[in-house]
C-alpha cells in the first residue's frame, strides 16, 4: 500500500507542468523605455509597466511606419501590458503620445 502511494506521488510529481517563466520587465519611467533594447528568445512574454504619472502607449512600429501587431494604452502609473513574442524578428515600438520614446525587442530562436 505504501509502495502504491509512493508510486502515485511520483507519477503526480512527474505531471506537474513546468513553471511558466516570469515575464521580462520593461519600465516606462521618466519618459523612457528601460531597457530600450532587449534580446529575448521565442516564446518570451514581455511586460511593460508605466512608472510615470501620465498616459503612455506601447505601439508597434515607429511613428512613420506603424505596425498593427500590438498597441496598448497604459493610462496611469502602475498600469501594465504584456505580449508574448512567438516568432523571431526585430520588433520596434514607441509611445504614441510621446513619440520620442522608442524601444526595440530582438526575438531569437
Amino acid at each position: 500500500m505504501r509502495f502504491l502511494v509512493t508510486l502515485i506521488s511520483l507519477v503526480a510529481l512527474n505531471h506537474v507542468p513546468p513553471a511558466t517563466p516570469d515575464p521580462v520587465a520593461i519600465d516606462l519611467k521618466t519618459f523612457q523605455f528601460a531597457p530600450d533594447t532587449l534580446r529575448v528568445s521565442v516564446g518570451t512574454t514581455v511586460r511593460w509597466t508605466n512608472q510615470d504619472d501620465i498616459e503612455h502607449t506601447v505601439t508597434a512600429g515607429s511613428p512613420s511606419e506603424r505596425d498593427a501587431s500590438f498597441n496598448a494604452t497604459l493610462a496611469k502609473k502602475g498600469a501594465t501590458a504584456e505580449r508574448m513574442f512567438d516568432r523571431a524578428g526585430t520588433f520596434m515600438y514607441f509611445c504614441d503620445r510621446h513619440q520620442f520614446m522608442r524601444g526595440t525587442i530582438t526575438v531569437t530562436r
Binding site: T30, F31, Q32, A34, D52, D53, H98, F100
Partner: protein, 212 residues
C-alpha cells in the same frame, strides 16, 4: 531703426549665450556643486530661455526671418544646456527625453505665434491646448525623476511660464512695446519659481552631491 535695435538686442543675447556656454564648460560637475551654484545655474538657464524665446517670437511676428533663425538657434542651444543640466543629475537617457519634451513646448509656442500672426484662431487655440497638456507631461517627467516634485505643483508652475510668455507674445503682436517689456520681465522672473524649487528638490534627493 526698430530692426537695428532688435538686432543689437539679439546680438547681446547671443553673446550672453556663448559666454554662458563657455562658463558652463568650465563650471562644476554635480559632485562638486553647491546648492547655491545649482540654483544660480538653473535660474540663468531658465531666464535665458524666456529672453531668447521672446527674441524669437518678436522676430517672427515682425517677419524678420534672419533674426528669427538666429534667435531660434540660440534658443535651441539654451534647450540643450537646460537638458545637460538635467542629464548631469539624472543621466543621459533622461537628458535625451527631457530635451525632446522641452523642444515640444517650444514647437507649441511657435505654433501659437504663427497662429496669431496669421490670425488663425483655431491654430492658436490648439497650440494653447497643447501647451496646457504639455504642463502635465512636464510635471509627470519631473515628478517621476524626483519624488520631491509633485506633478500638480510642477504643472501649475509651468502653466505660469506658458501664460506669462503668452502675455509677452500677445503684447508683441499688438505692437505695445511698454507692455511687451513689462511682461517680459515678469515672464523671466517667474522662472525663479521653477528654478529654485527644482534646485532644492534635486539637492534634497542627492544630499551627497550638492553641498550647502
Amino acid at each position: 531703426m526698430k530692426r537695428i535695435i532688435s538686432s543689437v538686442a539679439v546680438g547681446a543675447l547671443l553673446a550672453a549665450t556663448t559666454l554662458n556656454a563657455q562658463n558652463m564648460q568650465a563650471s562644476h560637475t554635480a559632485s562638486t556643486m553647491t546648492v547655491a551654484a545649482l540654483k544660480a545655474k538653473l535660474n540663468t538657464l531658465l531666464s535665458e530661455h524666456v529672453y531668447l524665446a521672446a527674441a524669437a517670437t518678436g522676430a517672427a511676428l515682425g517677419s524678420r526671418q534672419a533674426e528669427f533663425q538666429a534667435a531660434a538657434s540660440a534658443l535651441d542651444n539654451n534647450s540643450v544646456d537646460v537638458s545637460k543640466a538635467i542629464g548631469m543629475v539624472y543621466g543621459t537617457g533622461a537628458e535625451s527625453a527631457f530635451l525632446a519634451l522641452w523642444r515640444k513646448h517650444i514647437g507649441f509656442v511657435v505654433d501659437y505665434t504663427t497662429g496669431i500672426a496669421g490670425k488663425d484662431k483655431m491654430k492658436a487655440d490648439k497650440a494653447v491646448n497643447d501647451l496646457v497638456q504639455y504642463t502635465h507631461d512636464f510635471g509627470a517627467f519631473l515628478s517621476s525623476a524626483n519624488p520631491n516634485l509633485p506633478k500638480s505643483i510642477v504643472a501649475d508652475l509651468v502653466k505660469g511660464h506658458v501664460l506669462t510668455l503668452k502675455s509677452v507674445i500677445d503684447a508683441q503682436q499688438m505692437g505695445d512695446q511698454q507692455k511687451t517689456y513689462w511682461a517680459l520681465r515678469e515672464a523671466a522672473m517667474h522662472m525663479q519659481m521653477i528654478a529654485d524649487p527644482l534646485a532644492d528638490a534635486i539637492a534634497k534627493q542627492f544630499p551627497g552631491k550638492f553641498a550647502n
